[in-house]
């Protein structure tokens, strides 16, 4: 009997896998000379570094700053709830703003990479976000468990 199950691909893909198609531009881009490409590569690296720094602020400076703001709100209003609410609302707001900024930087980075001669399909934001979260989490664990300990520093031991 003829066997003809078309869904049995035997591991052979027909056609192109999703996301592997060529980049499509409005026209054929005209790249600059080697010097310009090197400059673009340097600029891309700088933009990437800025992106990393911005992402890192999400896991340290920004929460600390908003906790300080929350404590001030608590002090001024006498309400812990207000303080906590202000701190969380502020954190969410600056998180959104930071991510929007990072997305723009990521787009600029992709364009600079292409200008530098690379077939850059995707940005790095997701990976940077994940890696900085892991790095910040590990750093917190080291500080919390090894350096500082769970006991308060101001209260009597």
């Amino acid at each position: 009997m003829a066997r003809n199950d078309p869904t049995d691909t035997g591991g052979l893909f027909i056609g192109r896998r999703p996301g592997t198609g060529p980049l499509r531009y409005r026209g054929a881009p005209e790249r600059g000379g080697p010097g310009r490409q090197r400059t673009d590569a340097g600029l891309a690296a700088a933009v990437l570094a800025l992106e990393v720094l911005l992402c890192l602020t999400l896991w340290g400076p920004q929460p600390i700053a908003w906790l300080w703001v929350g404590s001030q709100v608590d002090y001024l209003t006498g309400s812990v709830s207000f303080g906590i609410a202000a701190a969380f609302a502020g954190m969410i707001a600056t998180l959104m703003v930071t991510l929007a900024l990072c997305a723009r930087l990521d787009r600029a980075w992709r364009i600079l990479r292409r200008a530098a001669g690379h077939e850059q399909r995707e940005g790095m934001l997701v990976r940077i976000f994940a890696v900085t979260a892991v790095v910040a989490g590990l750093a917190f664990l080291v500080w919390f468990v090894v350096l500082e300990g769970p006991a308060p520093t101001l209260a009597p031991q």
Partner: protein, 356 residues
């Protein structure tokens, strides 16, 4: 300066999926608009079926292609299926690379010298194949009595006939097979057999005569010309061995053939009905005009006119971008061979003919 920089970097922005889709839609619309303004060519010259093979046949071939194509294919299941289909022994079947290739090999085996009578008109390349094999092709009137009396080394019949569509009833063919001189070979080109009124009882024909060879094809009613798939039926195992390709037929072609034999009957029935319907439609449209063609079976029509010769007809049609095969290919100035397709094609052909 800033604008120049912005323009430089903007050229590296990729198109969004929406923009890509819009571009593709615009291209499609432009193509459609062009199609509406252009008269597309209509190929009525090719003898292959105008539609692709059944999707299941292609699936079967694809399935085979994704399997162990590093190994030589085993044609036993196909031979058994074909033998069951025709009521013969497995040893009486030889799959090959299409009817043309099988006939070519057959003539090299049985017609290296001597006269080969070909019922004419018949399949166009037959005389060339005989000549290449070393035999002498002799076109003869398609009259069984005349052919039997000829005493040729081999007699070649084409049923249903390409280009006329005429068929030889199985009983007449069997009687002819018994009547023909024992030393002669009877070669039956049955590439269009699926379009005929009879299923074709090759078992009875093989029983009626020792020196008989029937060649069948999957290129016509099964629309598998691209697979180069066919088979031969004969009593002479030595002959069949010579017809069998070294290493056999490819695994995908075998899989498609196997599907066609096991499950392709419904598709063939639809195509047979479609061909009959188009013959009838063309006959109705040309009724009462100088154009006529003999009754028969299959999509091939041997068209003639009492008012114009074949060359004039084919040129007139070509000027309207309809392409048919002039009868000169068969040494006949009066006819053209037309391969029928669907209703729209038949109507366009009839309209063009009526303008002549």
């Amino acid at each position: 300066m800033i604008r120049r920089l912005r323009d430089y970097y903007r050229q590296f922005e990729e198109l969004s999926p929406d923009e890509i889709s819009r571009e593709l839609r615009e291209r499609r619309d432009a193509d459609r608009a062009r199609e509406l303004s252009e008269v597309p060519p209509l190929d009525l010259a090719s003898a292959s079926w105008h539609q692709p093979p059944d999707a299941e046949a292609v699936n079967a071939a694809t399935y085979a292609l994704r399997r162990a194509v590093n190994a030589y294919p085993d044609d036993t299941p196909l031979r058994e299926a074909l033998a069951r289909r025709h009521g013969v022994e497995r040893s009486q079947v030889a799959p090959g690379h299409g009817a043309g290739e099988l006939l070519h090999a057959a003539f090299r085996a049985i017609a290296v010298e001597g006269e080969v009578a070909i019922a004419w008109p018949g399949w166009g390349p037959l005389p060339t194949l005989v000549h290449e094999a070393g035999g002498t092709p002799v076109p003869a009137a398609p009259d069984l009595d005349v052919l039997a009396a000829r005493g040729a080394r081999a007699v070649v019949l084409c049923t249903p006939n390409d280009p006329t569509g005429a068929t030889i009833p199985p009983l007449d063919l069997e009687a002819f097979a018994r009547e023909l001189d024992e030393s002669s070979w009877l070669v039956v080109d049955a590439a269009l057999a699926e379009f005929g009124p009879d299923r074709g009882d090759e078992g009875a024909l093989l029983a009626a005569r020792e020196r008989v060879l029937v060649v069948r094809s999957f290129s016509k009613a099964h629309a598998m010309a691209g697979f180069r798939a066919g088979y031969a039926l004969a009593n002479d195992e030595e002959l069949l061995d010579r017809l069998t390709p070294a290493g056999g037929v490819s695994a995908p072609a075998q899989a498609a053939m196997l599907w066609a034999v096991a499950s392709g009957e419904a598709v063939v029935r639809r195509r047979r009905a479609a061909a009959a319907r188009e013959r009838e439609r063309l006959a109705e449209r040309l009724h009462g005009t100088p154009f006529s063609f003999p009754s028969g079976h299959g999509p091939l029509v041997w068209l003639a006119s009492t008012a114009h010769d074949g060359r004039t007809i084919s040129r007139h049609l070509a000027a309207r971008r309809i392409f048919v095969t002039p009868g000169q290919a068969w040494g006949d100035d009066r006819h053209v061979r037309v391969t029928l397709r669907d209703g729209a094609a038949t109507d366009r052909l009839a309209d063009a003919l009526l303008e002549l």
